[in-house]
């Protein structure tokens, strides 16, 4: 057992596919930003939260100064020429053992995230997968044939669709991201096959994703309040 010492949320990207002129984490759903939803879900689970900023960083800096004063904001001034792996490598400063990494454009069911972090304490590396639904999915293949409830994956692939996709969430050592020039899933690919856990989440990458996420959030909040 090794506790998860912190979370690194990657919020530096351009969000160009969504085309709203702001970082995707600053989009409001049900009057709350995607970033605030993430931070509020993470706060009871990890002692430290780092938020990596780049594109329109001033918006996130002001938002955190007002609502989330206990997060560390890490700047990636080279966000236009680097990718998420580089951002979370920068965001890992001061993290030394086991870290939860996640994209800032995710809307995650809090119970699902709690369960993921809890299981992450038992594994050196735990990868998040979710049911395939996003428009730019990186699919995963399941070796043991248990497609309904996967516990391991053995490959990432972009060309052939499978029922599960890479959730842009994992728990592992900060050392994994030393080489920060590739996609995040490419950095963890050498460690496959690896344990996975399902996470109930939606990514907000395109206008279609956003509509799906809104509908999911609405149905989810009505089911939990019923």
């Amino acid at each position: 057992m090794q506790a998860v010492e912190g979370a690194v949320i990657a919020c530096a990207g351009l969000g160009s596919r969504l085309g709203m002129g702001m970082p995707k984490c600053m989009i409001e759903l049900e009057e709350k930003t995607v970033l605030s939803r993430l931070i509020e879900s993470l706060r009871p689970l990890v002692p430290r939260i780092h938020v990596v900023v780049g594109y329109r960083e001033e918006l996130i800096v002001a938002h955190c100064a007002q609502y989330h004063r206990d997060v560390v904001i890490v700047r990636n001034p080279d966000f236009r020429t680097t990718n998420t792996a580089h951002s979370i490598h920068l965001g890992s400063i001061g993290m030394n053992s086991k870290v939860l990494y996640l994209d800032g454009d995710l809307i995650i069911d809090p119970a699902s995230l709690r369960s993921f972090v809890s299981r992450g304490t038992e594994r050196p590396l735990l990868i998040g997968v979710t049911r395939s639904k996003s428009s730019q999915a990186v699919f995963v293949t399941v070796p043991d044939g248990n497609v309904m409830n996967p516990t391991m994956i053995d490959a990432f692939q972009r060309d052939t669709a499978t029922p599960w996709e890479w959730a842009n969430v994992f728990i592992g050592s900060p050392q994994l991201l030393k080489a920060g020039t590739r996609y995040v899933y490419e950095c963890i690919e050498p460690f496959l096959p690896c344990a996975v856990q399902m996470i109930d989440l939606h990514e907000v990458d395109t206008p279609e994703d956003l509509e799906q996420a809104k509908a999911w959030l609405l149905s989810h909040s009505s089911s939990t309040t019923a």
């Binding site: 430290r48 560390v72 904001i73 700047r75 400063i93 030394n96």
Partner: protein
């Protein structure tokens, strides 16, 4: 034992509005009933709208009228962020105050902190006037510290426009907004932005 106790890291802190939870010079100015004016001048300086050197000379000229004993009494009562004070006092050999404030004014605070200081230098003349001899360039303080060869890594923390060169010269620059939002130029020069003293201390201990 945490990481910062085992590594050769120097931690450089701005004083006014970083270690102290209020700006010091407007407190002294209250003695002359010009605290509002000096606070405005301090704010404009923090934001980089007036060169720090010009502003410091002007503020010294005004505040030099307050007797030194009185200045020391005022400064000794300026509150400091408890967690940062504790961090500095627990790591006196690794911590440094880097301030544009005057050595003859801040002596009581430095004694309380128990660490070394880089500051502007002034003397009290026989006529009882404060004569400003040298205004600290904060990036030069970092270079001086680096030249000693004592440290593998230098971390700097500050909030004002005059801290930007120090944040840029350090290996890790932290714009700190515990008292007010850091100056834009300080944020642009920094690797990180932190708005809370406890959060800052947690990070410094983990570095």
């Amino acid at each position: 034992m945490n990481a910062s106790e085992t590594s050769n890291t120097a931690f450089c802190f701005d004083l006014d509005g970083t270690l102290t939870t209020t700006e010091i010079l407007p407190c002294i100015a209250a003695e002359l009933d010009v605290s509002g004016e000096v606070a405005t001048l301090t704010r404009l300086t923090m934001d980089g709208l007036i060169p720090f050197e010009d502003s410091m000379r002007l503020r010294t000229l005004i505040l030099g009228q307050v007797p030194l004993v009185q200045v020391h009494e005022i400064i000794a009562s300026v509150p400091m962020a408890p967690s940062l004070l504790d961090f500095v006092q627990s790591h006196p050999n690794n911590c440094f105050v880097v301030t544009g404030n005057l050595d003859i004014w801040i002596a009581p605070l430095i004694a309380q902190l128990g660490c070394d200081v880089f500051s502007s230098h002034a003397v009290l003349t026989d006529a009882g006037m404060v004569r400003l001899d040298n205004i600290l360039a904060k990036d030069e303080a970092i270079q001086t510290l680096r030249a000693t060869g004592r440290f593998d890594r230098i971390v700097a923390v500050g909030d004002g426009a005059n801290d930007a060169p120090m944040l840029r010269a350090a290996d890790i620059g932290i714009a700190y907004g515990g008292v007010h939002l850091p100056a834009t130029s300080a944020m642009q020069a920094a690797n990180m932005i932190i708005n809370d003293a406890e959060t800052l201390c947690k990070l410094l201990k983990a570095l």
